[in-house]
């Protein structure tokens, strides 16, 4: 506890010491229980996605591990589908697909989109014009139409899905960041940097970007939930990837069987999607409240 003695030797008496990093984190966490819950949910799902194959009690594709369509029981907590596949194992396997696609799409889309937004906000003029107008043009395209076009261009598979969701995220955040950058551009520290002879590019890269970066993280976490929803909806329509995925397991024969009373076949994958999206949304809301209360919606 070297720091403790160091503060005591100051002799300022009543000046309270700033609590340590860990304590501050704990305090923030205790003020946002919903965000902690969301983070916890996401961690569990990411864990399932990473270690899925070794965690799952059965191979998700293995047929007849029990009697087909059996309801939830101790050995098969979520029951079995009509092929006798273990639904719990399939949900764990689905976590990998769902999270990989949505995380990749958000990472590509949001980081590129944020960069464009900051660029437009800082440099203005024709760059701003181009970014703004193309954003409006893409917003005019219903996401479904966009996806069908991309599917035609890239062929079925993961690439088209990631590209479609990424383009959605690309122009989702850039308006907000543009606005934030315009405020940041007129701050005194930018003027100071300019007075010291920094080039415009250096001011942009070293001063403006780090100051709006928390906002990028806020936007990314907020967009994650929407991306997972989009991925599952595409999979549900049979437009997703071939592997086991939550959306796909709720469509086709599974759906028609569920209509005859075997509810567990579709309800558990649906709950998995809802839970992970809820987690992402709660975490996103909390991060936004912590870092940028202006964005509160």
């Amino acid at each position: 506890m070297a720091t403790q003695t160091a503060t005591q030797t100051y002799g300022w008496g009543a000046v309270p010491r700033r609590p340590g990093r860990g304590r501050r984190l704990l305090r923030t966490a205790s003020q946002h229980p919903a965000g902690v819950f969301g983070l916890g949910v996401l961690v569990v799902f990411v864990f399932a996605g990473v270690f899925g194959p070794s965690l799952a009690p059965h191979n998700p594709e293995e047929l007849s591990v029990g009697s087909p369509l059996a309801g939830p029981s101790w050995s098969h907590p979520f029951g079995l589908n009509q092929n006798g596949q273990d639904i719990f194992s399939r949900i764990i396997a689905g976590a990998r697909i769902s999270l990989t696609i949505s995380a990749a799409a958000i990472f590509i889309g949001a980081s590129l989109g944020s960069f464009l937004g900051i660029l437009a906000g800082y440099f203005g003029r024709w760059i701003d014009y181009i970014v703004q107008r193309s954003g409006e043009a893409f917003a005019a395209f219903p996401s479904l139409v966009l996806y069908f076009m991309l599917r035609a261009a890239l062929g079925p598979g993961m690439k088209a899905i990631i590209a479609a969701i990424a383009i959605g995220a690309l122009f989702g955040g850039n308006r907000v960041l543009r606005g934030a950058t315009i405020i940041e551009r007129n701050q005194v520290y930018v003027e100071a940097a300019r007075a010291m002879g920094c080039s415009e590019w250096r001011i942009f890269m070293r001063h403006v970007i780090p100051n709006v970066l928390p906002l990028v993280i806020v936007l990314m976490s907020g967009a994650l939930g929407a991306a997972i929803l989009a991925e599952s909806a595409l999979a549900f329509l049979g437009l997703g990837v071939e592997e086991a995925s939550w959306g796909r397991d709720m469509s086709g024969t599974n759906l028609s069987i569920a209509r005859t009373g075997y509810w567990h076949v579709v309800v558990f994958p649906g709950l998995a999607i809802s839970l992970v999206v809820l987690g992402a949304n709660l975490l996103g809301d909390s991060l936004r409240d912590i870092w940028d209360p202006r964005l509160r919606r």
């Binding site: 139409v145 709720m250 209509r259 579709v266 809301d285």
Partner: protein, 316 residues
């Protein structure tokens, strides 16, 4: 205002031309799905394949194909589908009423409930009602719409051994009661996500407006609480609300397809889905143009409505 609207309308054909160019050539990229492959099997000879290609009009150079298509569209002829050789417009016209109804009902539900709950939660900020609705909204935003629709089918079948009507379309003008019985429950659920977003937006916008000076003035001059909230508060929050309604309409192209899929309704979304999988070019090209036109007109209407909502907004 009129000039502004006319100028925006003048841009429309130009944008439509760009959209059609992009659509047309994206579909014909070398690595894209070849529609001819849909109609061949193992016994088809190369010559037969060429005949099919010629029948579909795909043997000509691309630019010539584009010129032919543009000429047809200009004359109001939308061509025939590859799959069934039916005129594209007939196929679409038959399915249009379903989609219009789904769109109108869902947008109406999400707007009415979203704005109403938003006003209630803003007025009763930090009360139990407020917390209750906000928790509800977070859940509403997180549950996939197709899951809600599936639950609508599955839950009654477990609880009451009753399955809501699936499939078939009854025209509203023939039998309004039966039509609403068919469409109201699913469109209500399709609107849940939109209502949740709308509620949160209305609430936060209203809370911001409540802090304005003119709200205090309105109260100070003795206006009834209801008038203050609705005439002064809500009126000044309308711009983001109207913008979000526009966004919901665009998003519902997806929602409509999901509803059609689950309830086995043969609508436009379903038609688009099948056509895109089988690379039915005439249908895809037309539907892309059609949705682009629709969305652009709607965005124009949204932008123009700003001037009606807020007299300070002036278009020149």
């Amino acid at each position: 205002m009129r000039q502004y609207a006319l100028r925006r309308l003048a841009y429309l054909p130009l944008i439509m031309l760009v959209v059609s160019l992009v659509t047309f050539f994206t579909l014909r990229l070398p690595w894209a799905t070849d529609p001819v492959l849909q109609y061949v099997n193992q016994t088809t000879t190369v010559e037969q394949e060429e005949v099919i290609r010629r029948e579909l009009g795909l043997d000509k150079p691309m630019l010539q194909q584009f010129a032919i298509w543009m000429g047809e569209v200009a004359r109001g002829d939308l061509g025939e589908t590859f799959r069934s050789n039916q005129p594209v417009w007939d196929e679409i016209q038959r399915r249009l009423p379903v989609n219009i109804e789904i769109l109108v009902l869902s947008v109406a539900f999400s707007t009415v409930f979203g704005v109403a709950f938003g006003v209630i939660t803003a007025v009763k900020q930090n009360s139990m009602i407020d917390y209750g609705f906000r928790v509800f909204a977070v859940f509403g935003q997180s549950i996939p719409d197709f899951f809600l629709l599936i639950l609508l089918i599955v839950l009654p079948s477990i609880w009451w051994n009753y399955s809501p009507p699936v499939g078939g379309h009854v025209s509203f003008f023939e039998d309004p009661w039966e039509n609403l019985r068919l469409y109201v429950p699913p469109t209500l659920l399709l609107g849940v996500g939109g209502a949740a977003t709308m509620m949160r937006l209305t609430r936060s916008t209203l809370l911001e407006v409540f802090r304005q000076d003119y709200m205090r003035t309105a109260r100070a001059k003795g206006l009834a609480g209801r008038n203050v909230v609705l005439d002064h508060g809500l009126r000044n929050s309308l711009i983001p609300i109207v913008t979000l309604i526009g966004g919901h309409v665009t998003a519902l192209f997806f929602g409509s397809l999901i509803l059609e899929q689950i309830f086995s309704i043969n609508g436009l979304g379903q038609f688009f889905l099948v056509s895109s999988i089988t690379a039915d070019f005439p249908v895809i090209q037309f539907l892309v143009l059609y949705t682009a036109l629709l969305v652009m007109l709607m965005n124009l209407a949204v932008d123009l409505s700003y001037a009606l909502i807020d007299p300070r907004v002036k278009y020149t």
